[in-house]
Amino acid sequence: MTYLPAGLPAPVTEADKLDQPYWEGTRQGKLMVQRCGACGTWQWGPEWLCHECHSFDMKWVEVEGRGTIYSWTRCWHPVHPALKGFGPYVAVVVELPHAGKIRMLGNLIGDPQQKVEIGSAVTAVFEPHDDAKTPYTLVHWQRV
């Protein structure tokens, strides 16, 4: 059982492989993000160099899947054929305070009409899509 119906676009690694460690990590239930090997700056989304010191020595490190809701929306209007007759659903931007306050987007698991509050603590929930042509795993969030 997935949070959203089947038929939404499947994420794939970029042709230049910039984000490959992230998507490989999710398959193993790990949240991998970038941290600069030279100056220690956390960075998300992925980029080829550090936005702080311009080192190309970007390391991929595992971070604990917890954070706080930074912003959110509840979507009612179906904009994709797979979402016809479905909804509402909630998407949250989550800030990871232990990883340089980088932010990640996912769905908020649970009652789609639940009260959502900025600042609430959440933990990551991995949602594997093993039957996809190229299997992938999404990262959702759940209230603590």
Partner: protein, 393 residues
């Protein structure tokens, strides 16, 4: 060193529009719409279209200037320019780019244009089915986040949370546009007034936006003709002079998955001060304002970040009576704007600003001398400009 500025050096001397249609309802292909708007703008100015030598547009407009110049039989094609970035963020930047080309001797008679036929091409508010996604889209589409109403919801929601903005403030913005559209026979929503009850009872699209917080999607085209200030009085219309223009973005705006340093912003924070500096004016000097409504929450942030009022004053300032021509504190979106006149990616807002300075708006602000135009907020890059009448030079 001489001052580097566009202030007073270029004027809009012609404006043109096609009929504005609901999305997918244009009887004409998009390229025909572009041509019709350009011809109308040239006729308005009293310029032979064959004398146009330069073109500027934005948002990946599909109508190539070389084809336009060939179709029109332009004697000379000089400056061809496309402003980077999607949405309506480039609506003022494209005018500024054309003006910069004129001032630097790269262009003489420049046309800024935008054409949209969403029946011929894909709509903005609907996602294409199926397939795979990579890069930024891989981090958002699988979570059901596709279209602008959803993508920008996070910015508006955060700003409203941080500053305690009430829904009534957004409602005033929507109702002002619909109010002005009732006086404007060109407006797609002419004859379709919006009551407070209609607004409050409308369905949610993506919180914090209900239906009437969101712009229309339309077919049509708009164009402006620009010349140097020296030549501006050779043409038949009252010139609208560019007093200031600025484009840009906030820090790391395009860092994927909502990792801009400041998320709850229209992106005008660093841009608006440069506008006021070039224009040598401030928010209090603006007689009438057109502020691009992709979503009313975007207008809210644009106004705050331009300094029209502080975020903490928004609930008090954003009352309907303050936003209406002719007597409101800040008459805004006087043609009906993106919400109720036409979503021509905001180029119709430039045209309305010119009309206000000519004294020909259907919701005229008496004696308007300074007209502001804020192009599409929350995207990157954004842009903004100020037009002035001759007295302001």
């Amino acid at each position: 060193m001489t001052e580097r500025t566009l202030r007073g050096k270029v004027a809009v001397v012609g404006v043109g529009e096609t009929t504005y249609y609901k999305h997918s309802q244009s009887p004409d292909p998009e390229f025909v719409l572009a041509l019709k708007a350009i011809l109308a703008a040239c006729a308005d100015a009293g310029i032979n279209p064959k004398d146009v030598d330069s073109f500027a547009s934005y948002s990946n407009d599909r109508n190539d200037p070389s084809r336009i110049a060939s179709a029109l039989g332009c004697k000379d094609l000089r400056f061809s320019n496309m402003q980077w970035g999607g949405g309506g963020g480039g609506g003022a930047a494209a005018v500024g780019n054309a003006a910069a080309a004129i001032v630097s001797g790269q262009a003489d008679i420049a046309v800024v244009y935008r054409a949209l036929a969403q029946g011929q091409f894909q709509r903005f508010g609907l996602a294409a089915a199926g397939g795979t996604v990579a890069g930024e889209n891989a981090l958002v589409n699988p979570y059901g986040i596709f279209v602008p109403a959803q993508r920008y919801a996070f910015k508006m929601m955060r700003f409203m949370h941080d500053h305690g903005i009430k829904r009534e403030a957004l409602r005033a913005i929507a109702m002002a546009s619909y109010h002005h559209a009732q006086a404007n026979p060109r407006a797609v929503m002419h004859g379709r007034p919006l009551s407070a009850e209609d607004y409050d009872n409308a369905r949610w699209i993506a919180e914090p936006s209900r239906l009437f917080d969101c712009c229309q999607e339309n077919d049509g085209a708009a164009a402006l003709v620009l010349v140097s200030a020296e030549r501006a009085k050779d043409f038949k219309q009252t010139p609208a002079y560019i007093l200031g223009v600025a484009q840009g973005s906030n820090h790391r705006h395009a860092a994927r998955a909502y990792n801009a340093t400041d998320l709850g912003t229209s992106s005008f924070g660093p841009v608006a001060p440069r506008l006021w500096e070039m224009a040598k004016l401030g928010p209090k000097d603006v007689d009438v304002l057109q502020s691009y409504e992709n979503f009313t929450g975007g207008v809210l942030m644009s106004l705050v970040e331009h300094g029209y009022f502080k975020a903490e004053e928004a609930n008090d300032f954003l009352k309907l009576e303050n936003l209406l021509a002719p007597t409101g504190k800040l008459p805004m979106n006087t043609s009906g704007g993106n919400l109720a006149e036409c979503y021509m990616h905001g180029l119709e807002l430039q045209i309305e600003a010119v009309r206000q300075l000519r004294g020909t708006s259907t919701s005229q602000v008496p004696g308007a001398k300074v007209a502001g135009v804020i192009a599409g907020p929350m995207v990157t890059p954004v842009s903004t400009m100020i037009f002035g009448a001759e007295e302001t030079l």
